[in-house]
Amino acid sequence: MAQYNLTINGKSLNVDVDPSTPMLWVLRDHLDLVGTKFGCGIAQCGACTIHLDGNAVRSCQLPVSAAENAEITTIEGISEKGDHPVQKAWLEHDVPQCGYCQAGQIMSATALLKSNPSPNDEDIDNAMNGNICRCGTYTRIKAAIKTAAKSA
């Protein structure tokens, strides 16, 4: 076990965990930030996507020891009131079905729009292909990203 000081959603937080513990489980079990979801554990589904210094990363493959000295943002931290343009677009298009993958989808989409404010279909496919939606909301996600791009 080791002490880590982490910066998550603008707050400084301390945890005492094994250095190999992935950020996914640090967030979920130790910090009660459960919006970040467990889907596959091998960075193949994107449900656990968070931002590390603004880039979308899979938190199931990010050991806590590698997350110190970085700014971490989770779904709980992308807006104060749930009114990020991507969140608003998601609601406008009524995207979710079961909803389980959507936090990860939104984290990938917000990172995409930060680096590319007006992505085309191919850009969206490339940025989002790591996020599986088993319910098949892909066409709505694409439409929502385009709406968010316009309103951002």
């Binding site: 554990g41 091998i42 009524d94 066409t139």
Partner: protein
């Protein structure tokens, strides 16, 4: 899945609680309930009054509606309360929705599956809303001393025009909660033409919680002192635990205990959903998920071959049958060989019209094709998991289940606790697709909690989830058509089976449309567990049948839609046989609608087009798939769907689910496959089990609903089965090659220089 026909107990949902005199206050702290945001608190009433099991009204006119059914993404949590709100006659913007717990004394049929949520809820929930409205009216009549018949309601307001009296529901709720509920027979439901909420799209009531990452799933649940558990199951079907070394893990950091869990008591009579992949597993309990997952990797366990087992199991209708789980380690290659033998072996005759044998004898030509599809894993995005807190003779379970009633029986037996002492709270599910009708993950968590006498959250890894599945069976279907020298269809023969069940619905189309018709089924026993998977059996046979009809139409020189319409005309005007399980006119209606919406005969340049239609879960769907070829790979450009599911309660959400079913079907048709080697699933995570991704989804999907006044029928499943053939038929147009074997992708990769 067939539907349980359960007689509506008219009183049960009308039970008016008068326990607290002036209306019963219920706390807002239910596990899965809404936590109002600070803005909402301003509009929260000081007091809630329970009108009936489904409805509470606040003193300020706010309304809480309970969604009785488990939510797995089909959006019943929004659409079922819409039925209540419509007849209660309230403004949707004043409605809060809460997820009901499993509470059989208050709610009917708390089950999600078989696409029956809206269909089964249609009359009971509207009646519950209408009787609550009548109670408000009666309270006004009593307060104002006027006849109830002269009182009208509108959007949460009550009015007596003659006296000029007017009040909000909130002012009358306290009294209404004490009045005796009217006989539902005497309560009039709204005329369909008066609907204000039903038929008007409402956003997902949990939308803002989902996009902000609020805890909603069992996976997110946590209580003080909660332990974490992982499970280890045998590596292959046909194997069981021989022994394991507890000491191999208990000295690891954060690990409290490891022990064997036996799911069923020896004398337990299993019910329909008691399918359990491995009836004995190893549980590892510790202080955090990561720690138990590490221990899982290190545990030393030995496995041995499991002997044949036999038990009794109740069917969906309650009939008890003997189930045999054979011994042995099975292989997909052997499965394929065994299934191929049935192309020539006779099957069990399921339906016979006319004299098909004679027709085949005199045929000028016979077209024969065999279609196959592999096992499929459900792969819900949220792996199986459950929270349980079992202490003494009481249990609280919070878990993702489609079928709480069935698992409550299992829990009661396995825990040795009476059903009444087991509280099952219904978590939002991260997908279901049939998998969570089999809820032994709840039993496992409960038994772990009982053993450690502490609350626990048990989590499957993705590998556990995928390799201990309740899979969609593997199937094979052989179709034969007899044609005369003028290309007239003389007879049709289908022989289909699978491991371990036949996919045939013998009385569905094209039965009834063909004078000489023979349907045969067969099955091969197996120890691989199978179960309901979105549109069971239909999800295979639709693809086989509709691919064959496409090829047959081509052989006969007919347009594929025209050919189907001719058959349906025959079934309508001069049906063959008696028990035809479809309405040919509605069937034809969706084909005509999709022909119109896709502009069928004007195929755009560079596009290849295929069609398919199917009836299941009481609904009719026709689909057209357009593909193009880019970089030698097919690209699904457009999908047009025409759907007749009667009245559509929540149109945009219904379209969303239809889009999802189409994408699900395209994904499974191209890539879906589970295989076995020596009993072990060959794919255990998404690096090898290919799922459809963003770039592979259709560029555009249009879902069109037939506008009619029929009572609502199924929707979650019916758009799924037909897409396999619509895709296959369009790929034939694009590549010149018929695809008989799912998944399609490996065959496409073998094709060179796709024609376009």
């Amino acid at each position: 899945m067939t539907l349980l026909d359960k007689k509506l107990n008219r009183r049960s949902f009308l039970k008016v609680s008068t326990l607290a005199g002036g209306g019963m206050m219920l706390s807002f702290s239910w596990l899965a309930g809404c936590k109002p945001t600070p803005e909402q608190v301003l509009t929260m009433p000081k007091e809630w009054f329970e009108i009936n099991s489904y409805i509470k009204i606040g003193d300020n006119g706010a309304v809480t509606l309970f969604n009785p059914n488990p939510e797995f993404g089909s959006n019943v949590k929004t659409s079922l309360p819409m039925l209540l709100a419509e007849e209660l006659d309230v403004d949707w913007k004043n409605v809060f929705v809460e997820q009901a717990d499993f509470y059989p004394k208050r709610f009917e049929r708390q089950f999600t599956g078989g696409s029956q949520g809206i269909r089964s809820g249609w009359t009971p929930l509207r009646t519950a809303g209408a009787t609550a409205r009548q109670l408000i009216v009666n309270a006004a009549a009593q307060t104002w001393n006027v006849p109830a018949g002269e009182i009208t309601t509108n959007a949460g307001m009550v009015e007596h025009t003659n006296s000029g009296k007017k009040a909000g529901y909130g002012e009358l709720a306290s009294l209404a909660g004490t009045l005796e509920a009217p006989d539902p027979e005497t309560v009039k439901l709204k005329d369909i033409s008066d609907f204000k909420i039903i038929g008007n799209s409402k956003k997902n009531v949990d939308g803002s919680k989902i996009v902000t990452g609020k805890p909603m799933f069992a996976m997110d649940h946590k209580v003080e002192g909660m332990k974490y558990a992982a499970i280890v199951h045998p590596p292959a079907f046909g194997m069981k635990i021989k022994s394991f070394d507890k000491n191999s893990v208990t000295s690891m950091p954060g690990i409290q205990d490891a022990f064997e869990v036996k799911i069923f008591k020896d004398d337990y009579g299993r019910n329909f959903f008691d399918t359990t992949t491995f009836p004995e597993i190893i549980a590892i309990v510790g202080n955090s998920t990561w720690e138990v997952l590490q221990a899982k990797k290190s545990i030393k366990a030995e496995w041995e071959k499991a002997p044949e087992s036999n038990f009794k199991m109740a069917g969906w209708g309650g009939n008890i049958s003997d189930v045999k789980v054979p011994s042995g380690l099975e292989n997909s290659n052997t499965h394929k060989e065994k299934m191929a033998e049935y192309i020539t072996k006779p099957g069990n005759v399921l339906r016979k019209d006319g004299d098909p044998e004679a027709a085949f004898k005199k045929a000028a030509r016979v077209l024969e094709r065999t279609y196959t599809a592999p096992f499929l894993a459900h792969n819900t995005m949220e792996p199986m998991n459950a929270f349980a807190d079992v202490k003494g003779d009481k249990a609280v379970i919070y878990g993702p289940t489609q079928a709480p009633e069935q698992i409550s029986q299992t829990l009661s037996s396995s825990l040795g606790i009476p059903k009444e002492n087991i509280q099952i709270n219904l978590a939002r599910m991260g997908g279901g697709f049939g998998r969570r009708a089999y809820s032994h993950h709840l039993t496992e968590a409960a038994l772990i909690s009982q053993k450690i006498q502490a609350p626990v959250k048990m989590v499957y890894t993705r590998e556990d989830d995928m390799s201990a599945g309740v899979y969609r069976p593997t199937y094979s279907a052989t179709y034969r058509a007899a044609l005369d020298e003028n290309n007239n269809l003389l007879a049709l023969h289908v022989k289909a089976g699978g491991i371990p069940e036949s996919p045939i619905h013998a009385n569905r189309f094209p039965a009834g449309a063909i004078d000489n018709y023979l349907a045969e089924g067969w099955q091969i026993e197996s120890n691989i567990t199978i179960g309901a998977f979105r549109a069971p059996r239909s999800n295979f046979i639709a693809g086989a049948e509709q691919s064959f009809l496409d090829e047959l139409a081509e052989e006969m020189g007919k347009d594929p839609i025209e050919f189907r319409l001719e058959l349906l005309k025959k079934a309508e005007t001069n049906p063959v046989g008696k028990d035809n399980d479809y309405d040919p006119k509605r069937y034809a209606g969706v084909l005509e609608l999709v022909r119109d919406k896709s502009n069928w005969s004007n195929v755009p340049n560079g596009i290849s087009r295929g069609v398919s239609a199917y009836f299941c879960h009481n609904s009719y769907v026709a689909e057209v798939v357009d593909v193009s070829i880019k970089d030698n790979q097919p690209v699904v450009e457009n999908v047009y769907a025409a759907v007749d599911c009667g009245i559509v309660v929540n149109p945009d959400a219904a379209a969303n689910m239809g889009e999802g079913a189409i994408i699900d079907g395209i994904g499974n048709a191209f890539y879906g496959e589970m295989a076995f080697e020596n009993g072990a699933p060959t794919k255990r995570n998404f690096d090898t089990y290919r799922m459809i991704r963003h770039s592979e989804a259709p560029k555009k999907i249009e879902v069109h609903f037939v506008d009619n006044k029929e009572e609502p029928t199924g929707l979650g499943e019916p758009l799924f089965p037909p897409v396999f053939a619509a895709l296959g038929n369009s790929l034939y147009k694009a590549t010149g090659k018929r695809l008989y074997e799912q998944p399609f992708q490996p065959q496409i990769l073998e094709m060179k220089n796709l024609r376009m």
